[in-house]
Amino acid sequence: MGSQPRYQSWGRFPAAAPVGVQPLRFRDQPLPRMPGSVLPVGNGRSYGDSCLNNGGYLLATRGLDRFLAFDPQTGLLRCEAGVLLSAVLSLTVGGGWFLPVTPGTRFITVGGAIANDVHGKNHHVAGTFGHQVTRLELLRSTGERVCCSPAEHPDLFAATIGGLGLTGLITWAEFRLQRIANAYVQVERTRFSHLDGFFDLALGADRAHEYTVAWIDCLATGKQLGRGIYMAGNHAAPTCEGSPKAPGRPVSIPFDPPLSLVARPTLRVFNELFFRKQVRSVQSGLEHYAPFFYPLDGIDQWNRIYGPAGFLQYQSVVPLAVSRDATREMLRCIAQSGQGSFLSVLKVFGDRAPAGLLSFPRPGVTLALDFPFKGRSTLRLCDTLDALVAHAGGAIYPAKDARMSPRMFAAGYPRLDQFRRSLDPAFSSSFWRRVTGAAA
């Protein structure tokens, strides 16, 4: 049953109230004139405040959900910005085409994937979502419609990829899909007992895998610091057709628990079980793509487990040269703080140059964490982590951020001034005002 869509971010912190929400339904509509700033919003899966516009207006883009063209010979797809990645998969997987890059949820819009220049487990071979975009149309507040690509208006194109919706409204985009033989992934899981084990796997011969990512037990300390499970996968070969079943209907968290269900004791048990459930040190098998890429999409509204206070995501990247020390230091801080993270993920990014001026992925090692929001102590831990990241010459991911300082943002995004030249003056967001001090 439908009800009023909520306009809060996935982390549910901070709270924000738009003055108004303008739903868009046709891409030929002119940009509605509003008395305040506007921000396009997709499916609200950004964690922090980059999808919020407190005191301003939102342009709800989910109604722009049409396909324009799909070439089943070349895999080139053109669609409106509000199309969900899940809709793309439903359309194309049967015919042997898959998303070229996918984040950990398929419930995001194509516009959101571009505006946050999302990445996935194959960054080291494919780059980001933005690298796959061949063309897009931008509707500016002047009323002008600009077709952007690496060849046409390249400055505006580079600003719009990872541009957080601040360069205008993306009405449609065109991108390339990748060929697959079937819906399955050949997965190999390897247990490692400390952080060096991760680096040995990630930097070793294993770069042959298309998809790689590691889960880390961030409660482990001492000799076990940084222990975890390394997951590597490839799209299955044609002969692998068959066995694993597609997942059924998602289960749902149907209500808001009054407290966060993620606390240190539950987390300790979960992490221990997750680490131990794998008996052999290396385990391999065939999986349907959905549980491999989207383990949490099987639980509707999983963000509710953190209770009404919500949670903070924290994702950083540090240069490869200093990554061992920096990551070890960060894990030590987290273990000491007693603020457990449920999903701690470590990955080595490839060395492809970023697609956008404000793209987060860059050569180095990325660590993603989430913390139940406990007020000042959580914020203090994040500040400590920021200092370590800044010292290492790294950056924080805007799509997951709700609290970094303007200085931290500027340090991580040296092309910020170049980006400002492509800003649309009518567009703004809570995030943008927070990290730049811009007026509402």
Binding site: M1, G2, S3, R25, F26, R66, L68
Partner: protein, 246 residues
């Protein structure tokens, strides 16, 4: 065989959601709409989603005497029609209509008379073909006259009676007539209303509607609970009803 589907008012949110279901089945569609540019954007989408072929034609419900031509064009383009969905309409401003007979008449033209205009040629053609389904979007508002929605309710209530008679006439010919009565649907037509748990998405209504056509149903309340809500509303004694602001 690929179903041949005519949709009038094809840019409405409910109609588009229904069209996607037919497209996924490989249907051949003819989309009639006032804004043919937008209908063309929908046609492109339906082709990608699996429609065998999609054509677009202009239809303006405020103009009389273009219904026969539209039906003839669509009938010829599709080579006969298996399903016709009539989905165009507006939500008139009740206060403005109460103050103006002209506005009331205009609202009745768009929401009632123009629908009958297309139903007559469609019914005649389907009757001779001995086959087809006429599906028309009515409303729960047509189930009882209410002060807050009198003109819209009149149009939809009148439509319900017309369709009842049409269904009676066409039954021997094997032609089905379905009236769809959605409750609150979250569409651009209702964008200004605050939403509650009673509101349904166009996709939900489309799923019910598509299934009701396949099953040969005659009346569809969607979502299902509106049948019971409207039963209660119809049963409220007049003396009591007049004390409400429904």
């Amino acid at each position: 065989m690929s179903q041949r589907v005519l949709i009038i008012g094809a840019t409405s949110a409910i109609a588009e959601a229904v069209a996607r279901r037919y497209a996924a089945e490989g249907a051949t569609l003819f989309l009639a709409a006032r804004n043919t540019g937008r209908a063309a954007a929908i046609a492109d989408d339906l082709r990608v989603r699996g429609a065998r072929a999609v054509q677009v034609g202009a239809y303006d419900a405020t103009v009389t005497d273009n219904a026969d031509a539209l039906v003839a064009t669509a009938w010829e383009a599709l080579g006969g029609i298996d399903v016709a969905l009539i989905a165009h309409g507006t939500l008139p401003d009740q206060a403005a209509c109460a103050a103006s007979a002209v506005l009331t008449r205009q609202a009745l033209v768009v929401n009632l008379l123009s629908v009958i205009d297309v139903l007559i040629p469609l019914a005649n053609r389907m009757e001779s073909a001995g086959h087809g389904t006429l599906a028309v979007i009515g409303s729960v508002a047509g189930d009882r006259g209410r002060q807050s929605n009198t003109v819209y309710g009149t149009a939809k209530g009148g439509l319900a009676i017309f369709l009842q008679g049409l269904a009676h006439r066409l039954a021997p010919a094997g032609v089905r007539v379905l009236i769809v009565k959605p409750g609150f649907v979250d569409t651009p037509m209702t964008a200004a209303f605050p939403k509650s748990a009673l509101w349904a998405s166009p996709a939900t209504v489309a799923r019910d509607l598509h299934r009701a056509i396949a099953r040969g149903q005659r009346v569809l309340y969607t979502p299902w609970f509106w049948r019971w809500i409207m039963l209660i509303i119809r049963l409220i004694p007049t003396a009591l009803f007049h004390r409400t602001r429904l």
